[in-house]
Symmetry: C2
Subunit: 390 residues, 2 copies
């Protein structure tokens, strides 16, 4: 039986994703906030009682304390506002805290979102800042970067299951293609498998087109109690399950390199709470920081059997129009990956899909959606399951 | 009427505070965790369902993702674990989230705490990292550091209310003295007003002894639902009220330099929720990052009238044995200020006081305590009010 809603999403907003010059992260957050507020005419900003803001790193803008800054820049002072950090799962976790806070009865309406401004920094600096999500003494110190960590997973997956470079490439082809129908996306582009395979190697088998983008962006989700949702919108989307899990920070401590335990534990909790199974999911946003990550997510979320992720993309089942469309937004791969903003941005896409606002990338008749957000190489995993309102 | 408890503290732990060589922050957190667990024999570690970890900055250890790392190092995997960051109020906010999560009914037992490892870095590096809590474009960029920000508040307070350098110095004398009875404190020391006044000027009127310490440390608080508390301990302490508030990140945007709005808003909420008033508080830990901050806290928390904070310390009312003992632990000033760990460490001290475990610094008969944690120059404020169990 489907679970009782824990919270309702009544509006969402996204800044433009891309290389945004001349704006601070806080200004991008204002853009996302304004879109969310403008989209919810029955909501007064004074109704918002708390704010949860994902931001991965203070390095990019030499700035911490982003919770207060976001409350300041949106003129929501003096409401409580806190930054959450779980690497690239920072704003997935912010949304989970938002859900908990309305479920606690302590707040009626809260906002969760994320911010990251990255593109003004040189790429080596960004690579170093991203590496903060991995273990300092045993990983960073030895020169391991994120493409390297995911390359280790990719080669293990190829070795164990026969996954091919072409199958990885198909993830990029699909997601860049989907992004062509998303006006907020960073890199909408028709590309071919050959384009991916012939792009320069970053950490074999991952090439340039196997990697997600360095992107500026912000995201915002307005949450309320299910019983108050209709006060704010005729088309609420309900959060019916969520799960979060932690795993070892270092890849070297894990039993498997071809699966993320955090995805499995978090999604199991979310499915149980929601009372649904993987086959009930009509549309999903998954954490495709690298193409191999999307393949592994298919398997760990139960969209296919273990080791069959490469086949799933090859058969076109995760395309729009397929059995289980994945990353209709373009994903981290092509919509872009402003790391702290990604998790809440995934919730935005599922909201668009479940309210029929996804334009040319709409999945017809979508009723249940899933968002899957990973921090680092899998030390944090957050999964939300959403249902269209009646 | 006194408020219904929201959550119960059933055990707490602190690492040694000080210059701790040869340990990572995560290892300090393990020390705090072990003390909390050892102090609660009825609790199995598998009872703990979520973890909230305050850490101010990734700069010190070139390490983010501390939520997952803390869960990893305490062997609590795969429970959800997230880092919270609100500058020096990071773990006050972590405790507030812990309270919310047990109050939500989604968790029975959770842990909140904080970590900061700072002393291995050179002082100019630490000063820069601390400055991340202030505004980058308008404050950091112009060379304003935290001693400078609080010096602006101190000179305004001296100008408006006639507060003297001697009164500021008395805060340091009291807190270093209290620290002599706290075996975990960083700098227990008998000092005189003359010692403070003759110490070197950092940012006039603040001298070396007016500033809190750069300290390594970690803190840990175990929280449960009030109705489960007696399962774990005979001496629970109840959280009967809490409040959190945000203010402008920049000092330049504020109506007053002699008061922190975040303290006033957060404490008003906490007092109302708890159903108590300032005169009911038997013992308090307040955020004395600089001596002027303690004087302002007296006033903003309602322990005395506005402008009378200097007089309050002069009259000895905040000494142990006075009307309202403040910072019995030694405070940030002398116990030390591992920034991300401070808020939860304040909760630890109130727990010791309300359970009669504060040794030679015990406030006799203390029944109600207050913890006051500030982020940055006041853009985040968190207040908890605790009551001794029956």
């Amino acid at each position: 039986m489907m679970g009782k809603p824990l919270a309702a999403v009544v509006s969402v907003g996204l800044s433009k994703f891309g290389r945004i010059e001349g704006k601070y992260g806080r200004e991008l957050f204002f853009d996302a906030f304004k879109e969310a507020i403008d989209g919810c005419p029955n909501l007064e900003t004074r109704d918002i009682e708390a704010l949860y803001v994902g931001q991965m790193s203070e390095f990019y803008e030499h700035q911490g304390h982003s919770g207060a800054i976001a409350a300041n820049w949106t003129r929501l002072l003096p409401i409580p506002s806190i930054r959450t950090e779980g690497a690239c799962a920072s704003s997935g976790a912010a949304v989970a805290l938002g859900v908990m806070s309305v479920h606690s009865g302590l707040c009626d309406v809260v906002m969760a979102g994320g911010i990251e401004k990255m593109t003004h920094q040189p790429t080596p600096f960004v690579t170093e800042a991203l590496a903060l999500a991995s273990d300092f003494p045993f990983e960073q110190w030895n020169g391991l970067t994120f493409p390297g960590l995911y390359a280790l997973m990719a080669t293990a997956h190829m070795h164990e299951y026969g996954t091919t470079e072409e199958q990885l490439a198909l993830v990029a082809v699909k997601n860049h293609g989907n992004a062509m129908f998303n006006p907020k996306a960073h890199l909408p582009k028709k590309i071919t498998v050959d384009d991916v395979l012939s792009s320069r190697i970053i950490a074999w088998p991952l090439k340039l087109y196997d990697c997600s983008l360095i992107t500026d962006g912000a995201s915002c989700v307005i949450l309320t109690k299910p019983e108050l949702a209709k006060k704010y919108t005729d088309t609420p989307v309900y959060i019916i399950g969520f799960g979060q899990a932690a795993d070892t920070i270092g890849l070297y401590e894990r039993a498997s390199l071809t699966s993320l335990a955090a995805t499995k534990v978090a999604s199991k909790k979310a499915y149980e709470m929601a009372g649904v199974s993987p086959k009930d999911i009509d549309v999903a946003e998954v954490h495709d920081c690298f193409t191999i990550a999307e393949i592994m997510a298919y398997e760990d979320l139960g969209f296919c059997e273990k080791g069959r992720g490469g086949k799933l993309i090859e058969d076109g089942e995760t395309n729009i129009g397929g059995r289980i469309p994945v990353n209709t937004s373009g994903g981290l791969k092509a919509k872009g990956h402003p790391v702290g903003a990604t998790g809440a941005a995934q919730i935005c896409e599922i909201y668009y899909q479940l309210t029929g606002q996804a334009g040319k990338r709409q999945v017809e008749g979508a009723e249940i959606g899933l968002a899957h957000n990973i921090g680092g190489s899998g030390a944090t995993g957050v999964v939300h399951i959403l249902r269209r309102g009646d």
